[in-house]
Assembly symmetry: C2
Homo-oligomer: 339 residues x 2
Amino acid sequence: MPELRKDPVIGRWVVISTERGKRPLDFGRREATPRSGLCPFCEGNEDKTPPEILAFRDGGKPNSPGWRVRVVPNKFPALVVEGPLRPKGVGLYDMMNGIGAHEVIIETPRHDRTLSDFSVGELDELLLAYQSRLNDLQQDQRFRYLLLFKNQGEEAGASLEHSHTQLIATPIVPKRVIEELDGTARHFQAKERCIFCDILDQELWDGRRVVAENPHFAALAPFAARFPFETWILPKSHASHFAGIDAEQRRHFAAILSTVLRKLDVALDGPAYNYAIHTAPVNDRRDWYFHWHIEIMPKVTKVAGFEWGSGFYINPTPPEEAAEYLRELRLDPVPTEPP
Amino acid sequence: MPELRKDPVIGRWVVISTERGKRPLDFGRREATPRSGLCPFCEGNEDKTPPEILAFRDGGKPNSPGWRVRVVPNKFPALVVEGPLRPKGVGLYDMMNGIGAHEVIIETPRHDRTLSDFSVGELDELLLAYQSRLNDLQQDQRFRYLLLFKNQGEEAGASLEHSHTQLIATPIVPKRVIEELDGTARHFQAKERCIFCDILDQELWDGRRVVAENPHFAALAPFAARFPFETWILPKSHASHFAGIDAEQRRHFAAILSTVLRKLDVALDGPAYNYAIHTAPVNDRRDWYFHWHIEIMPKVTKVAGFEWGSGFYINPTPPEEAAEYLRELRLDPVPTEPP
């Protein structure tokens, strides 16, 4: 059973994941992650994953070919879904058993496609899969946060090459989310407005950090970007939960996400990247101030001791320059059918 | 002139480092960092760096061979030392000009040595160089924090192979340090004790997470370790500033640092790692509660979207197992002379 442990000084939670089996000796030699061979996420290999939780299909029975998007439990979960939550103290430390969920959203049956090859319709369906899983998992009263994130490319931490997203449900609200909630609450108390709404107003008026825009969404290089070409996409109207968007909004989100990923793909030559959807906690009263958004972080520089030691970042590319470059980049028309 | 910009929601500062010249097009192809060729940190190449600030020498004039440890300004500084500090607002954002210092401590004249090859005496002298630079820089009233950190190996973000430490002086206190100060202050208000002193008491009594110990220092795997084999070294007596240690304490710190680095080197087969010295801010009244320490983070797993999105870590190696493995590892005697 994995454990959740809290740093007693700064309140950061860590999963000590005993299920994943990295014992001291496993690190003796640098791991050579197998890249070739049988991919458990490819169509036809459905028996190589745990049984599916959700699939959008053209036909076929569950756990057989014919799917377009497929959601399965992670075979090596960081947290496990069975059992009641048991918080406890160990001297001055706080911990709890590692209750949660860890799912994998396999974005495509094909090994050779990534999100920047997707049509807007395909991305829309992927976002629908995200939304469906969030709406299901938030029924579980043990969970406080549902984190959707993607690691694209080995340098971004992907351990399997086949394009996929992960969803982790946790019984605590992660530190970074609490910081964002606290920041939005502070601004609301001072101004009676949402800080992300204020940021959108200022950025759309200023224009220098705008990467793309449509009727419902704006893509921005954040003023204090940590990484070169870091890009955030925010809904223009205040909304705290990603899972609450309607079909029209989802379509516009798919369209702007497609534009941003394709522009990054061209500008940075198929970069490794991470993205994470920042949405309000579930089963929590503090959510009203929050303004959901996605943060996309290309991995073109390495994070080093300075950043780890201080939480203070050095970004060699001014966000205004990155935004201008991406904004003015011309793309081929968006594909509407898979090739 | 670089700029310091503050994230308006969570208060994280970022250096937008215009001097480092990473323009959008520079990322078009993955950078091939030149590893071979003329190393500016090797003995004999002193004219390839800015003039030295400090050197410990067996002989020779400044900026010529004969040194054992040499400190120079970073040729591509993230922050620049000249000028007054000018904070300003830009709409709802906060920023200031990028005033600070960025120095490089070249640890050895030889390209083929790393800290795990050093004798305790050599490490002691390196720590004396750290201490001397901190004592000098803290005279500058513009600076609020002095961060010493090391990136060992390309995977840990080192851009030059030759073993070196960096020192960055910043006009703000970094977010991570503020979090640690807040955590120690909260504990002091509740208990009238230092939380790190309480952690040391509990860990030395418990014993399972102790890696090494001597009369003045303890090396621990932290209870909520983020990374496999993460190790912290703390002074047993309360002290807020690393720069204030005396010669006897420094010798004991050098000895335990040598033990830990050599054990990690054997256990993980010469891993890439980062370390950072966490010490109290300078020119600041909030420093009393703080308990300085060093955090050593081997890079054997990749940090991925989950960690970036949430500030929540997954560690596949329980710290008790890592500590036991390191504690019981037998080392050859410490070298007392350079080979």
